[in-house]
Symmetry: C2
Subunit: 194 residues, 2 copies
């Protein structure tokens, strides 16, 4: 059964990979990201140093992989929120709500890793690519909702998507989950047919 065997290996690799990322972020949060060493990571994730080096060449590479996993998780959440409903207006509302939640999540992670590292990881090219993916996902949802009449049709969907992405970045600056819900409601109100 070679296929199953390969799947088992792949699942094992994935589990080790995830354990390394989790251990690194925990260490970074405890001691500061700039001081974490490969030895500490090997110890904390319960694997040998030699094995660790088969997965990652150094700590920055692990942090970037962690960042990529965060981005993938955030995107997956948006897609999941979108697919929970069939009605265009409700889909859009669910995705905006989830996107605002992601922003607060990101802020928490940046606080965890410290501002320097947060800025570094944020600048990484994947962030830009993810930004484009989110904007396109929103643009398509907005276009659907505009066709169904629940969103204004006097502004191009791509512009409205750009508006949503920026407006919801405010979620990271708000003090409570209730304030974030209000922000989503205000942002949605901007989209309504005047």
């Amino acid at each position: 059964m070679p296929k199953l065997w390969n799947e088992t290996i792949e699942a094992h690799r994935r589990a080790v990979h995830d354990a390394i990322l989790d251990a690194t972020v925990e260490l970074a949060a405890e001691h500061g990201a700039m001081t974490v060493t490969m030895s500490q990571i090997a110890e904390k994730s319960g694997i040998g140093r030699a094995t660790l080096y088969k997965y990652f060449p150094d700590v920055p590479a692990i942090l970037l992989a962690w960042r990529d996993r965060e981005i993938a998780t955030h995107l997956a959440r948006l897609v999941e929120a979108r697919d929970r409903s069939d009605e265009p207006g409700r889909r859009l509302a669910a995705v905006l709500d989830t996107y605002a939640g992601n922003q607060r999540d990101r802020l928490r992670h940046h606080a965890l890793l410290g501002p320097e590292l947060g800025a570094l990881l944020h600048r990484h090219h994947h962030a830009t690519d993810a930004h484009r993916q989110v904007t396109e996902l929103l643009r398509d949802l907005i276009a659907d909702a505009a066709r169904s009449g629940s969103v204004r049709a006097d502004v191009p969907p791509a512009e409205l998507a750009t508006y949503c992405v920026h407006a919801l970045h405010a979620a990271a600056a708000l003090p409570s989950a209730a304030a974030v819900r209000r922000l989503v409601a205000v942002t949605l109100a901007g989209l309504r047919t005047p």
Copy 2:
């Protein structure tokens, strides 16, 4: 007439100061900000090197002074826009419009100086202080407009100000002045009483 004499000196100092900033930004735009030297700046602004050093110790100090002047200009424009009308709703619309214009201005300047320097100057602490001043100015205008009934009263003015600032940052990502006008209209629509 010592007072007049002092005023003359102050006006002269201000003119030299501004000429230095203008010359530096022109040189930065021509040759790249990282390569500009104090000698080039002295030559371009038509003053001696010794005089230049009485004003600024090095090129980064000049670029930061230029950034401060930009921020002051942007804030002054907002205050001017606010004071052009007495009606709270119209005041708010004028300020949001001006703020969106400032974002496009900033983008142009960042493009002029290159992304590295743009990011560096952007991180400078004054940017944060200016951000707070803008948010407070908007919060007060929104509170006035909410009292007069032209803005929703179900969301705290400070939260609505945060929403506006973030939403209008989208202006820097939009392709045309017409798109920016639509963005301002959409952002204002979010503020309206539901």
